[in-house]
Amino acid sequence: MTVSLRIFFIGGLTAYRGLINWLSPWIFIPSLIVAPIFQILLFVYIGRTAGVGSDEFFVIGNAIQYASIPCIFSMTHAIAGERYQQTLAYILVSPAGRLPLFLGRALPVILNAMFVAAFSLLVAGLIMRIDVPLPTWPAIALVIFISTFSCTGLGLVTAAIGLRVRETAVLNNILFGLLLIFTGANVPLDELPGWMAAIGDRVPLTHGIEAARQVADGAGVGDVGGLLASEFAIGVVYTFVGYQLLRLMERESRKRASLQVA
């Protein structure tokens, strides 16, 4: 038990620090501090130009949607990055339990994504003069936590795919773009065609974004309980699928001797 906890917490943090070069302030600040704020501003002004939505709609939607960058990219790299470092074989040959080994890497990803989303929301909110009352912040923090957990589940899926395909950056960029459409961050789901709205209901962040908007408008945690439960359930499903996919890829890599093929 102690060993599993050590692998989960210490191993996860060590792997995260070793593999994610974004932690350098020279990359972190432009990519994860400044860029999300400009994404938010871009969509706020597109919204004003098109005469659709309120500033608050775009600020909250994009702040939480941008968490998908650290969630998906970091999670993918925290596992698939081992292949590029030629260390994957050593990790997989170890007797370490796979559950703490893989999921432990998700924890720092979630914390980082939470920071990115909350900081973007705070700063863009101040710039655009969005009134998010101070007492609502604990509830928003909870919403952000559940949303980032859910999206990190999707990151686990892409991490597993990253054990087989080479262009993970391309794949992740596509997913980021699709989340921009399907999560309702910029276009309300009822404005999308039915099939797109149906997909939107089944991807991470959609329910979290909606919950955050309602909380900012004064709803309590209890009022958005259903949305949070849906978001959490989606996260559990993606995490389960991602974990199973990782095990499958591990078995296949052993079978085909393709473990270190980068």
């Binding site: 350098s24 020279w26 990359i27 432009p30 990519s31 400044v34 860029a35 400009f38 994404q39 501003l41 871009l42 969509f43 002004y45 597109i46 919204g47 004003r48 130009t49 098109a50 005469g51 659709v52 939505g53 262009e167 950056a169 391309v170 960029n173 596509i174 773009g177 699709l178 921009l180 459409i181 910029n186 276009v187 309300p188 404005e191 999308l192």
Partner: protein, 256 residues
């Protein structure tokens, strides 16, 4: 004549080379389509729908900027990583002539974006593709590519001083989309953004494409694109000279 041959051969080579890159195809085709789709839905839902051709051209231009930014911003760094920078500098033609085709090619690759967003809009969003002034449009496109390509030269020669050029590119993607009014009316932005937008070729490029495509006269905008291109060329020339001198003095040409 040899100058033209160097530019032509270099441009052809780099266009082919970039076309084989999955990352560039993504930046050039899929990403603009995604942003165009979001914008189409937003403008459809909005109280001021405007013309969807406005959106299609703006989203296409976003792709041209992205491919120029990421392609040119990391151009010299990539040559370093591939071990070809020494050869590019040691060959008899000036380094400027070796770099220009590359930065022009990155802007040219962005034309995939324009085609992709126009086709996407026509197929799925009923965006009409009736150009008001086809000849002006046909001139505005290469003028825009030249303007952005030369801006790429400035990026290439200055970003090289920053070790994490890719992060700098990430930083500059959204702000330029915003400040140059690709999908946003500049009248909504604070007044101080105006002068910034005037010195950026994408502003004039998109205005030229819109004037030629939707209605109006694009000649002033085309002229501004070419004029700015000339200014960027001068800046890029001196910046490249500075980089080359520093790299030779400090023996850092091959250091990654």
């Amino acid at each position: 004549m040899s100058v033209v041959r160097i530019l032509w051969a270099g441009w052809k080579f780099h266009v082919k080379s970039l076309t084989l890159s999955g990352f560039f195809l993504l930046t050039s085709v899929i990403q603009p389509i995604i942003f165009a789709s979001v914008a189409y839905f937003m403008f459809r839902a909005g109280a001021r729908p405007g013309t969807l051709l406005y959106v299609a051209l703006g989203a296409g231009m976003m792709g041209i900027w992205s491919s120029t930014l990421f392609g040119s911003g990391g151009a010299i760094q990539w040559q370093r990583w591939q071990g070809t920078l020494e050869y590019c500098i040691a060959v008899p033609p000036p380094f400027l002539l070796v770099t220009i085709p590359l930065t022009l090619a990155t802007a040219t690759i962005g034309l995939y974006s324009l085609c992709a967003t126009l086709l996407w809009g026509w197929l799925f969003f009923d965006v009409p593709f009736n150009l008001a002034h086809p000849i002006q449009f046909a001139i505005a496109v290469p003028a825009t590519v030249i303007g952005l390509g030369m801006l790429g030269l400035v990026l290439a020669s200055t970003f090289v001083l920053y070790r994490n050029a890719n992060a700098l590119s990430n930083l500059l993607e959204f702000p330029i989309w915003l400040a140059t009014g690709l999908l946003v009316s500049l009248s909504f932005l604070p007044a101080w953004v105006g002068p910034i937008s005037w010195v950026l070729a994408p502003t004039w490029g998109i205005n030229a494409l819109r004037e030629a495509g939707i209605g109006g006269s694009a000649w002033v905008e085309i002229g501004m694109c070419l004029l700015l291109g000339l200014v960027y060329l001068v800046i890029g020339h001196f910046a490249l000279k500075h980089f080359e001198r520093l790299a030779r003095e400090r023996a850092t040409l091959t250091l990654t």
